[in-house]
Structures are given as C-alpha cells and as structure tokens.
Amino acid sequence: MSGTESHGGETPAQALATAKLGIWTFLATEVLLFGGLFTCYIVFRLKYPELFYTEHLKLNRPLGLVNTVVLITSSLTMALGIAAMKQGLRRRATACISLTILLACGFLGVKYVEWSEDFSHGLYPGTNLFFSLYFMMTGLHGIHVVAGICALCWVLVLARRGRFSPEYSTPVEITGLYWHFVDLVWIYLFPLLYLVG
C-alpha cells in the first residue's frame, strides 16, 4: 500500500491510523479471496471424507510442521523488527527484517521441495480434488508469500536509507500487518491440509 502517500491528516500518528485502516480493509478483501477456496474445501471435504483422508496421508507432514515453525518465527522477527524500529534501533530493526525475509525464502524453499516430491509421485493439481485444493491453496498462499518478500525487501531498502524513525515507520508496520496475515492463513492451511485431511 502506498502508505507513505497517505493524506490522512497532518501528524504522522494520524497518517499511520489512516494507513492502518487501509491495510485492514485490504486484509478484509484477502479473507474473502481465500474464503472461496475455504468454501470449496468445506464442500468437498463433506462430500468426500474418505478421499481427503487417504490423500492427505500422501503429504509430507514433517515438512509441513517445519514450515509452520518457520512462518511463525518469521512473524516473531517481524514483530520484533517493528518494535525495534519504534525504539529507533535501526540496526536491530534491519537485522530483524532481513531475518524475516530469510525465513520467508526458507518457507518457499521447503515448499519447493514438497511440491517436487509431490510431482515425482505423480501428484498434480487435477490428480484429484484433494490435491487440486492442496495445490490451489498452497499456491495462492505461496504467491502471497512472494508478494510479502517483495514488500519486505522494499521496506528493508527504505530502512537502510534511514527513512524511518521512531515517529514514522508506517510502511514497516503496514508490511508487518500483511505479513502476519500471511502467517494467519497458513495457521489454518496447515491443519486443514496436513493434519486432518
């Protein structure tokens, strides 16, 4: 979001409140974007419980667990980064953001391994409804992770250039909120796909 361009009042605090309202509205749209897929999931799971049970066993559970931990940790580093930025600890903040990006890339790396494994077992989107859902959901989530990485890199560049201060760190906070949302979606995807199938 172009939070920096916000005209939401004169003071940085007002501008931040405006930008926050913007990003929460955006997250509302994201809820409904994923909502379509969740609806599909519920409909088909109720229709074909056996299929979901047998198919979900084919997923790599340990890797799913690892990825959950990775993403939750990246949320932590993001939150710590924002807190550091608000204290004016720029080096600590940039370190935290860099770590977040690293973890996000790690998440995608694990995802890559998982998908390759699936492909090598002949499991594709279209193989059956479960795997269609699995690939669509993790795929759409993956796209959001990629977008998050881009946003985080942008924030990192701005932070390195010294654009932020304890008074003004709107883009960092906005990106943080988005990033936590990406984490939130995964928190639901993980049990739905890997654990209860």
Binding site: L21, W24, G35, S75, A83, L195
Partner: protein, 94 residues
Amino acid sequence: MLNTSSTKAYRTYILVWLALLVLTVVTWLVSYVHLGMLNVTVAMLIASMKALLVALFFMHLRYENRLLWAFAIIPLGFLTLIIGGTLADVLLRD
C-alpha cells in the same frame, strides 16, 4: 505504547511465539490420536487460538480502537455467509 515499555513488548512477543510453537506441537500430536470428527474440531480450535494470538499481539489488535476491530471481524461474518449459503444448497440437495 510500545516504545515506553519496550523490553516488556519484546518479552510479550517471545512469549506469544513460544505459545504458538507449543500449540503447533499440540495440534501435531493430537492429529495422531484418532478421535473421529473430534479431530477436526480440536484442530480448528487450536488453529483459532493461534490465529487469535497472532491477531491480538503480533497485529496489535489488542491496542486498537473499536473501528479497527470492526474491520477485522466483519469480513469473517461475510466468510461465514458464503460458506453457510453454499452449504444450505450443497448439503440439502437430493
């Protein structure tokens, strides 16, 4: 709110993170116990607890005003709506 008690904020974040990890492990372990339909319920309950932790602490919802709470909750209502309306058809079709 954060810069005044920053060490406390760091500590909160780390505690939340630990809680999230514990819940992840719990949901992982529970999935190996066969409880039938209860498996889904437990998994979703734990996921929602985790989601709540992320929203309240990492996303600062705890410190936000009512307007932002409304913006966070209303879309969930509409999500329920699309799921409910679709199920009203799909489940009751003969």
